[in-house]
Symmetry: C2
Subunit: 261 residues, 2 copies
């Protein structure tokens, strides 16, 4: 019987059309599937924890792998063996057996994203494709203040791109934290039970506007429930899926850790 394995992977999204398989484009899903099929010499089913847009990165991403030969393969050697077959931009970090009905997307209790902004006046080549180059430093205290209005359970219609098909736009944001990092970088970390289409990139764009001219109010935008009042959708290159939580304890510990800072 085919065995199911949950794999922890990470990838640099720059060269990919995102996680999801697409016609005429290179996806992470297809890349992982091809490597697994080469290794296991038979068809593999690969299911991810999230669709990510083209150019979005993942420091921690989970996907399941199902294959009939998997139970004859030593699991502790799976990451190293797959890494040899994967391109430099995708790496497998761990693998564990899971039950047949485990779904990496529906089982996730929460996800944490980071959005990186480079606030220097002059470009930094080492941040190319890794952060959004904004050209000047926003007021991060103001951004952090405004971000607190998003914490809690709200209708996030204002922060959802128009192509989203989801009816219920209520989500619970566990934390939203803006911090200055060395090298003129600004980090926005947001953790929620789920995210709408382009939600993090629109929140990042709105908070950046708050930090640059101080006129926008995040709470007002939220209450208007209309995408037109939010800021622009910042580009994918600054966005990182950072953590995915499957256990309540891990999620609670992380929320306490970030709030305790």
């Amino acid at each position: 019987m085919a065995m199911k394995v949950l794999m922890e992977i990470s990838y640099v999204g720059s060269e990919f059309c995102g996680w999801q398989v697409q016609r005429n484009a290179l996806s992470v899903q297809k890349t992982v599937q091809t490597a697994a099929e080469t290794l296991l010499k038979s068809p593999c089913a690969v299911t991810g924890c999230s669709r990510t847009d083209a150019g979005v990165h993942a420091r921690q991403y989970f996907c399941t792998l199902e294959n009939e030969n998997l139970d004859r393969f030593p699991l502790d050697r799976l990451p190293l063996a797959l890494n040899c077959l994967l391109p430099e931009t995708v790496g497998v970090r761990d693998a564990f057996p899971v039950e047949k009905d485990f779904h990496p997307r529906y089982r996730a209790l929460g996800k944490e994203y980071e959005y990186l902004i480079h606030g220097g006046r002059l470009k930094n080549p080492f941040l190319s494709e890794r952060a959004f180059f904004c050209g000047r430093m926003p007021d991060t205290d103001c951004m952090q203040r405004e971000a607190q209005d998003l914490v809690g359970t709200h209708d996030f219609s204002s922060f959802c791109a128009s192509g989203g098909k989801v009816e219920d736009k209520t989500r619970t944001v566990y934390f939203c934290r803006v911090e200055k990092l060395p090298g003129e970088q600004v980090s926005l970390r947001i953790c929620a039970d789920g995210f709408l289409y382009n939600m993090v990139r629109i929140i990042a764009g709105t908070l950046l506007e708050c930090g640059l001219d101080g006129r926008k109010s995040c709470g007002t935008v939220l209450s208007l429930k209309d995408r037109r009042f939010a800021g622009r959708t910042l580009p994918a290159q600054g966005l990182y899926l950072d953590r995915v939580f499957y256990r309540k304890e891990d999620l609670e510990m992380r929320i306490a850790e970030v709030n305790g800072k």
Copy 2:
């Protein structure tokens, strides 16, 4: 009369054949020259502070730019204007006028390089082309101890690739420091009055061997004055030109700072 400007730049070396212009290959020098000639609409002379090998990165690099129209161009706008014409992987950070006889290579009093090793067991896609993936963690205390034998004025024949044309292989190393960084990374920082061909990459390879099996003695290798006794030349992708010193005070402050740590 043509004006001479000293520019501080940085670049990700992955896509370049190095600094120096080469036939049939993309060099950083040619890339900067082309951008400057597009901006200033006449031939430009660009001279660098160091030849770097293909794939080597530079966080701080200096080059002079000479052009007859340069004195009519506002110097404070030169970095931004050039950045718009340069690819994502090269950035101009600053520009200052210098005397006609200033040579960025001969005027440098010292250079500091960093060599980055990723000592994790599993690859990290975000360090691809940015660090040398070694596959296991070396003993950094041992590396740091061994590195101290290189500090001072010595004949570095053991750490010079054959092919180098320099007769006098005596150099003065101001500091050589091995440190563990977060994310299973090891940083080797070395500062000297000058470096021989592949010197940092051979020193990194020798110290890594010390840190992995502990049998090699850096001091013995140094005293044998023979390349065959040193370790392998580590790949270019882990090497960064980090700082270039033109003023005695800056160099002395940096030496005191690193030694005081």
